[in-house]
């Protein structure tokens, strides 16, 4: 299958099964046939169709080059991956989200975690549960060496002593079990101080700093319990952390219906000195005023295009900026097996609550029917794990025909449940935005190549 589109003056043809991406002139773009085509069109027919538009010589050349690419497996390449379903078996669990605090010191209106407690009351994880979680991960990870632990919340810095205890405990086991722990933390920044900054800069392989962008946009949703905006509380702390940071980080914001001009927020964050930036669509109940709706899709897509053009200009001037969603590696990206599996939720990845309950991922936390087990009683539901293992992109009807399947990998199962009631049914709006982002990302590559 091919996907072809025009964006910012570029004609782009993506060959879905091989992963090849081509930039072409108009005659080739027309001659290659329709978007979604699965085989080379009848070239005689194409010639007749475009007879008035191009010369015979132009069409001959284009047809010849198209045929060459088909020959070399870079256009209309075969769907080679159908046999994958049989291999979609349970994998070792190697990645874990620790809900270190179901509590928060901000009350962000749009919080999917119901202001930090996931609707289940405020609660902090004990070091005892945290250590059990590490033991569980070491045991279930079998021969996987790289293990990921994400400290998440609520706000994890509200229970920072336990974060440290867990890190130290895990590090003490690395050698004996031949494991390499990679810790990450997501924070709202309120409690950051010099000691914490130094500690997490030393121990975390990635740090996610939540901030929505422009002060008024941030403060619209991200507020203290007293109703004060959080921007002034955190911005200098983030700057300090980043100035001392050697490893990965990013500042991460949320956009809602109220700031569909979110490229301004990206630029604001950049002007503050951050060059690793992610600003993402809000995940929330569709009834809320600020939720994103289908009618917002065109405006959001336009905004992505605008941002893509700005980023091209900045990069051409030699500026450093990395907008997460336009980050794509056309050559060295992950293997197809990873692309088929996607996020790994419930299979390679689980979330653990302060009470020691195990869920397929952080977004399933609180949905009782999806609970997979408990560290307290040692239970674990392998059937559920198998269900998620089999939930690869080709198992989803809508995804198997989608051109973006090997970039997107089937979207978010938790959103699929929330919006569509089924882990295999992708959520329309998310799909539209995902596809637009991939198109922009590829176009940026074309522009900078």
């Amino acid at each position: 299958m091919i996907h072809k589109y025009r964006l910012n003056g570029y004609n782009i043809i993506m060959d879905v099964n091989s992963g090849a991406v081509h930039v072409t002139d108009d005659v080739t773009f027309d001659m290659v046939g329709d978007d979604g085509g699965v085989s080379m069109p009848d070239m005689e027919e194409q010639r007749r169709k475009y007879a008035g538009k191009y010369t015979e010589a132009q069409m001959d050349e284009a047809a010849g080059e198209i045929a060459q690419l088909v020959q070399s497996g870079a256009l209309f390449s075969e769907d080679y991956y159908a046999g994958f379903a049989a291999k979609a078996i349970s994998s070792p669990i190697k990645s874990m989200c620790l809900h270190i605090a179901h509590d928060c010191n901000l009350v962000c209106d749009y919080c999917f975690a119901a202001k930090g407690d996931f609707g289940h009351g405020r609660c902090l994880m004990s070091a005892r549960i945290g250590k059990k979680a590490i033991d569980f991960l070491i045991e279930k990870s079998a021969n996987r060496r790289n293990l990921e632990v994400d400290f998440f919340g609520g706000e994890p810095l509200m229970n920072f002593g336990v974060v440290k205890e867990i890190v130290e405990y895990a590090r003490s086991l690395e050698k004996e079990h031949n494991k390499n722990f990679r810790f990450t933390i997501t924070t709202n920044g309120v409690l950051l101080n010099d000691d914490i900054i130094d500690y997490i800069n030393g121990q975390m392989s990635n740090i996610v700093l939540s901030i929505d962008g422009r002060p008024e946009i941030n403060d619209r949703f991200r507020k203290t319990a007293g109703g004060r905006g959080s921007y002034d509380l955190i911005i200098d702390k983030y700057k300090k952390l980043v100035s001392k940071r050697v490893g990965d980080y990013y500042v991460r914001g949320t956009f809602t219906r109220e700031n569909l001009d979110f490229s301004e927020d990206v630029l604001h964050l950049w002007s503050c000195g951050f060059d690793q930036i992610s600003v993402e669509p809000v995940v929330t109940s569709p009834e809320l005023d600020y939720s994103l709706r289908e009618e917002d899709i065109p405006a959001i897509c336009e905004e992505y295009e605008k941002l893509a053009k700005i980023i091209i200009e900045m990069k051409q001037k030699g500026e450093r900026i990395n907008f997460f969603h336009f980050n794509i590696d056309l050559d060295g990206g992950p293997c197809i097996i990873k692309r088929l599996k996607g996020c790994g939720c419930g299979n390679e990845y689980v979330a653990v609550t302060p009470e020691g309950d195990i869920y397929p991922c952080h977004q399933f936390v609180g949905m009782e029917e999806w609970k997979m087990g408990s560290l307290e009683d040692g239970s674990f539901d392998n059937d559920k794990k198998q269900l998620f293992a089999a939930n690869h992109v080709l198992s989803k009807e809508k995804c198997s025909d989608c051109w973006a399947k090997f970039y997107c990998s089937g979207g978010c199962s938790a959103n699929n449940v929330q919006y569509m009631g089924d882990i295999r049914k992708p959520h329309e709006i998310s799909c539209a935005l995902e596809k637009k982002r991939v198109e922009c990302a590829v176009m940026i590559k074309a522009a900078l190549s």
């Binding site: 930039v23 072409t24 080059e65 390449s77 993402e280 992950p334 990845y349 090997f406 997107c408």
Partner: protein, 45 residues
């Protein structure tokens, strides 16, 4: 080629043969977290 510029090598099929080691980073796709296209991940090999 005169009409077509190819940006990358068509390597997905090859990756099926040597891939699947499972050591790469988990990649939450949801907007609530790191959401990213899986394609922006790096291979550990």
């Amino acid at each position: 080629m005169k009409h077509i510029k190819t940006l990358n090598t068509a390597s997905l099929k090859k990756s099926a043969e040597k891939g699947g080691c499972g050591e790469c980073q988990a990649s939450c796709q949801s907007a609530c977290k790191t959401s990213c296209t899986v394609a922006n991940q790096t291979c550990e090999k």
